[in-house]
Structures are given as structure tokens and as C-alpha cells.
């Protein structure tokens, strides 16, 4: 699963280089938003979706300190 997610992250990074909209403003989305700007706005939403996948399927298992390392007041917070 982690390899698939790593592949998705790399693919999204490559999608940031949208050479296909480099020299054109058309179509103007909603009549005023150049396609290059609209694409990158959608790209931000895509990044959020990728983060949902990462959090759901690849949350770092070692991101909690061992219980013995926590101070007593940390417990139950």
C-alpha cells in the first residue's frame, strides 16, 4: 500500500508541471479564470485528497512515543 501511495505522491508532483496549459489562457473558467489558474486551484484540492489517503492508509506507526516515555500528566489527555 505504501508503494502505491508513494507512487501517487510522485504522480501528483509531476502533475504540478502542467506544460499543457503553459501558453494559453483559454478556456476562461466562469468567464474570467484562466485555465492555468483554475488547474492549480483544483490541484490544491487534489493535494488535500492525497493527504486524506496518506493519513488513512500510511499514518506513521512510530509517531507516538512509547508509553514509558510519557509523563504521568500526559496520560488521559
Amino acid at each position: 500500500m505504501r508503494f502505491i501511495l508513494a507512487g501517487i505522491v510522485i504522480a501528483v508532483y509531476l502533475l504540478h508541471q502542467d506544460l499543457w496549459f503553459w501558453r494559453t489562457a483559454h478556456p476562461l473558467v466562469f468567464g474570467f479564470l484562466p485555465i492555468g489558474l483554475f488547474y492549480h486551484a483544483v490541484f490544491c484540492i487534489l493535494c488535500s485528497v492525497v493527504m486524506v489517503l496518506l493519513v488513512k492508509f500510511a499514518w506513521p506507526v512510530n509517531s507516538e512515543p512509547p508509553a514509558s516515555a510519557l509523563l504521568p500528566e500526559d496520560e488521559g489527555r
Binding site: A25, F32, A41, C47, S48, P60, S63, P65
Partner: protein
């Protein structure tokens, strides 16, 4: 005057938040409480304040100003690349930093480096470099505060007074409230700006008669049509800009902030919502900056456009002083404020101005981070805490806040560079170059202090070299780069209108790559930390022989 009244009311409110946080803190406040809010921030405050910490004058004024001059490319360069890189680095690096901070009690990155690599003075070198790189970032806040207050008040508040007011307010709530006050103020600031960003867009669009007509008019002019595409920059430059967001997690105020979460689970909503928050703030800023090119009904913006046209038409014939004057006159750092003043009702312009001011004042976290670093990495490390006690340590931190803010203000009064240039060329590229240190310390068990030192010294050299190069080689007047060194017929080093290009890439790319290379080779050639230290950070390794003669 009325917008300025709203802004001053807002400034008074955030100052009160800092004092309120001070009253909430315990008597005889500990360093951990003052500098890290006792590692107890809740989910919403952690998300909004972490995001707010990253929003500066650069985000709002710099981005709209950059978009005014360069067009929609600003969003792809600075926002959408960050929408992937920043949450990803919080996910991978921020969570591990939090865990180690919780486990071993670190309060600064240098404390972590010293323990991880068993070093003392090398840690001090890293501290000095981080501090030197962070100061320009703090100056941005003061500069942005000065120009924003001046613009919102229609020039009634001069730049130097505006900068002083902002510096005093920020100094006040950081001084009193520490991390808790700073986090609460940042939360308020983020909510304020997220609320008003869309409102500003709608009101200005309405005032301009809608953006459809503006977009069509821009497309109809050869001078402005390229602003709606990216044809003026190369894809390689665009690609190299994705190295800039690596700086975010390497900024001390961000990785210190990662230590303030109560639980690691609080990173989850932060990494998921971070790209959406970026979108909500950057899209209006960039769009307004671009559309300002058709806001000729605003006299100040019309004057900027005229200055730009004069520069484009007669640049080579103008004396250098006149070129400099025109370049400053054409700068767009205040276009968003000018648009608000012209198109929004007075009371709403005041509220929106307060929202902009909220983003401008994000230098608070950097000031607090430098104070934390100074007291922990220098004062405490060199015996001050043992000699004078923990209470004196907090007092030292507060005195440092006063001194640093005063220094930043004095520099802001004299600094000639634009907000954007100052931020990107020095602080951002430098911290991106320090990114390999963080990755190596966290994930590569064989990394050593000598690799870290090599990487840090390289960063210093590269930042100074870029600064000297840009000082020595004047900005090309024709608009096309001045090639200084060619290798096999390819321009290897060029002075561009925006800065420096190395093989057509931003300097940040070779800076990060060479920094990584030095980290690896320096570590492979030198003695590893003791097995005991390595097993604390990498519990899985117990039996390998680490030491090399």
C-alpha cells in the same frame, strides 16, 4: 481614517489576547510553558495557528504584488507547490519531530541536533545560521506592517510610524503571552483572513464591474495578455521553485511549533486541510493582483501601470536613478490595499484591512522562535540556566524579544529590497538548503555532525555568494538575463531581472542538492555517534558496529 480606526481596534484586541494569555500562565512560568505553551495546544488552535504562522506579509502583499507584475504564475509557483510539499513534510517530518520532542524534551531543533549527533559547538554554528536566515523573515513583517498601515490610512500614518506600531504590538503580545499568546493571536488572524478573503474578492469584483470584462480586456492587450498565462517563465524555473517549500519545515518557528501539539493526532486535520486553507487565501490574493492591471480607475494603480510602461518603453535610455525610482513606483506590494480602499465601503475596507493586517503580523512566531533558540541553545547550553535559574531564562527570552524586534524595525526602515525578493532569495533558499539536516537527523542513522557542519557551511557560502553576485552584477535592463559564465555553450550562471539563474534553475536547486551531497559524503567519511545514542533514536538497531576508527 475609518479603516485605520478598525485596524487600530484590531491591534488593540490582539495585544489584549497576549496579555490575557499572560494572565492564564502560572506564576514563576517555566520555559516549557512560555516557549511551547506546555505542549498542550488543541486541534483547532494547532491547525489555524500553524497555518497562520506561515502567512506573512509575503503571503498577502508579496503574492498580490508579484501577481500584479507577473500574472497567474504566482499561484503555481508559491501556492500549489506548497499545497503538496508542506503538508507532506508535516506528515513525514513534523510527526516524528513531535514524537522525539515529547520523548526527549527538546524545545528547539538545535537541542535535537546536539543530542542526536553528540555535538556542542557545531550546534551553535547551526543556531547562528538559522538565526541569521530568520531575521529577514522578521523584517518582512515590520515592512508589511508599515506599508499596510500607511496604505490603509491613505498615507495619514507614515510608513515609519506604521512599522513601529506593528512592531510594538507584536512585541507586546509575544513578550507577555509567549507561545500561548502567539498561537491564540495566530488563530484569530487566520480565521479573520479566511473569512474576509472571499468577501474582498466579491466586493472588488463587483466594484470593477465583474472580472469577466477585466479578463477580456487583459487578453486584448499584448502588454497584459501574457499575465494570464505562464509564457514569460520557463518550465525549468517553475520546476525549480518547488524546492522553495522545503524551507517551511526547516524554519525553526515551524519545527518548534510542531512540538506544541497535545497529541500527534492533531496533525491529521492539519495536513488534510492545509492545501484548502492555502487555496482559500492565495487564490483571492493572486486573482486580485492580476486583475489590478485593469483597475485603472484607482489613481495609485494607474500611476504604477504608467511607471511600468515607461520602464518597458525607455528603460535603456533612462539614468539609473530614474530606473530605480520607476521600478519602485511600479512595485505592486500594496495593490490589494489600494483596491480595497477604492472599491469597498469604508467600514468594510477597515474590517478587510484588519484581515490583511492579521496576515502581515505573522512575524510573531519567528520572533518567539528566535527567543526560544537563544535562551535554550545559547543561554541554557552555556550555563546560564544553571547559574541564574529557570525564571531568569524566561526573563532572558523576553528581553531578547524586545531587542530583536527593535533591531528588525531599524533594518526595515533602511532595507531597499522588495518584500518578495528579500524573503525568497535569502531566508527561503537558505532554509531549503538546511532541509537535508533535518531529514538526515530524523531518518538516516549513519548521519554525523561533520556532515551537518559541511551542509550548514555550504548554506552560508551559497547564500552569501548569491547575495554578492546579485550586488555585483546589476539587474539586466533589457529584461533578458545577463550570462556571466557559459559551460559547453550552455548559460551556467546568469543574472536575471528577478535574481540569479544556475543552468536556468533557481539557485535553491543546486543549494539543496549540494547540501544533500555534503551531508552524505561528510557522514560517510566521519565517525558515527555512539551506539547508545543511535539506539535511542533508532531502537531497531542494537547489534551493529557503528564506530569507525
Amino acid at each position: 481614517m475609518i479603516p485605520a480606526f478598525f485596524v487600530f481596534t484590531y491591534l488593540a484586541a490582539v495585544l489584549y489576547v497576549g496579555i490575557f494569555a499572560f494572565r492564564r500562565s502560572s506564576r514563576g512560568q517555566s520555559a516549557e510553558d512560555y516557549f511551547l505553551a506546555n505542549r498542550s495546544l488543541g486541534t483547532a488552535v494547532f491547525l489555524f495557528s500553524l497555518f497562520g504562522t506561515n502567512m506573512t506579509a509575503f503571503t498577502i502583499l508579496g503574492s498580490s504584488g508579484h501577481a500584479f507584475s507577473n500574472g497567474i504564475v504566482t499561484f503555481g509557483l508559491m501556492a500549489s507547490a506548497s499545497a503538496l510539499i508542506i503538508p507532506l513534510s508535516l506528515f513525514l517530518i513534523g510527526t516524528r519531530l513531535w514524537m522525539l520532542g515529547k520523548q526527549f524534551g527538546f524545545m528547539t531543533p538545535v537541542q535535537f541536533f546536539r543530542d542526536r549527533w553528540e555535538c556542542g559547538h557545531i550546534g551553535t554554528v547551526i543556531f547562528a545560521v538559522q538565526a541569521a536566515l530568520l531575521v529577514p523573515y522578521i523584517i518582512i513583517g515590520v515592512m508589511g506592517g508599515g506599508s499596510t498601515l500607511s496604505a490603509i490610512s491613505g498615507g495619514w500614518v507614515p510608513y515609519w510610524v506604521g512599522g513601529a506600531v506593528v512592531a510594538l504590538v507584536v512585541m507586546g503580545y509575544v513578550f507577555f503571552g509567549g507561545m500561548r499568546g502567539t498561537a491564540w493571536v495566530n488563530t484569530l488572524q487566520t480565521i479573520l483572513f479566511l473569512s474576509f478573503g472571499a468577501a474582498a474578492l466579491a466586493i472588488i469584483a463587483g466594484g470593477m464591474g465583474g472580472f469577466r470584462q477585466a479578463a477580456q480586456e487583459m487578453l486584448g492587450s499584448s502588454a497584459t495578455a501574457p499575465l494570464l498565462t505562464r509564457e514569460r517563465i520557463s518550465p525549468w524555473f517553475f520546476l525549480s521553485y518547488t524546492f522553495i517549500p522545503l524551507s517551511t519545515i526547516a524554519f525553526p518557528h515551524i519545527n518548534i511549533f510542531c512540538l506544541t501539539a497535545r497529541r500527534v493526532q492533531q496533525f491529521k486535520p492539519t495536513v488534510i486541510l492545509y492545501p484548502i486553507c492555502l487555496l482559500a487565501i492565495w487564490l483571492p490574493s493572486v486573482l486580485l493582483g492580476v486583475m489590478a492591471n485593469r483597475a485603472t480607475a484607482v489613481p495609485s494603480i494607474a500611476a504604477k501601470l504608467e511607471a511600468r510602461n515607461t520602464l518597458a518603453a525607455h528603460s535603456s535610455a533612462l539614468p539609473p536613478e530614474e530606473r530605480t525610482r520607476l521600478r519602485q513606483a511600479a512595485a505592486g506590494d500594496d495593490v490589494i490595499v489600494l483596491l480595497l480602499n477604492h472599491y469597498a465601503p469604508v467600514w468594510l475596507a477597515g474590517l478587510l484591512g484588519a484581515g490583511i493586517m492579521a496576515a502581515v503580523m505573522a512575524s510573531d512566531s519567528q520572533i518567539l522562535a528566535l527567543s526560544t533558540m537563544f535562551t535554550e541553545d545559547v543561554f541554557a547550553f552555556y550555563g546560564g540556566k544553571e547559574r541564574f535559574g529557570p525564571v531568569a531564562q524566561v526573563h532572558t527570552g523576553r528581553i531578547f524579544v524586545l531587542g530583536l524586534t527593535a533591531l528588525a524595525y531599524l533594518i526595515a526602515l533602511r532595507a531597499p529590497a522588495s518584500i518578495f525578493e528579500l524573503a525568497v532569495q535569502y531566508a527561503f533558499s537558505g532554509f531549503s538548503s538546511l532541509f537535508p539536516l533535518l531529514v538526515a537527523a530524523l531518518f538516516w542513522k549513519d548521519s554525523t555532525k561533520w556532515g551537518a557542519l559541511a551542509s550548514t557551511l555550504w548554506t552560508v557560502f551559497a547564500v552569501v555568494a548569491v547575495a554578492v553576485f546579485q550586488y555585483a552584477i546589476p539587474v539586466p535592463q533589457s529584461g533578458s538575463p545577463t550570462t556571466v559564465w557559459t559551460l559547453f555553450g550552455v548559460p551556467a550562471l546568469s543574472r536575471t531581472p528577478g535574481g540569479t539563474a544556475v543552468f536556468g534553475l533557481m539557485p535553491v536547486v543546486p543549494m539543496v542538492l549540494i547540501s544533500s551531497l555534503l551531508m552524505v559524503t561528510g557522514s560517510l567519511l566521519t565517525r558515527k555517534p555512539s551506539r547508545q545514542t543511535m539506539s535511542r533514536y533508532f531502537p531497531g538497531i542494537q547489534d551493529r558496529v557503528h564506530s569507525r576508527g
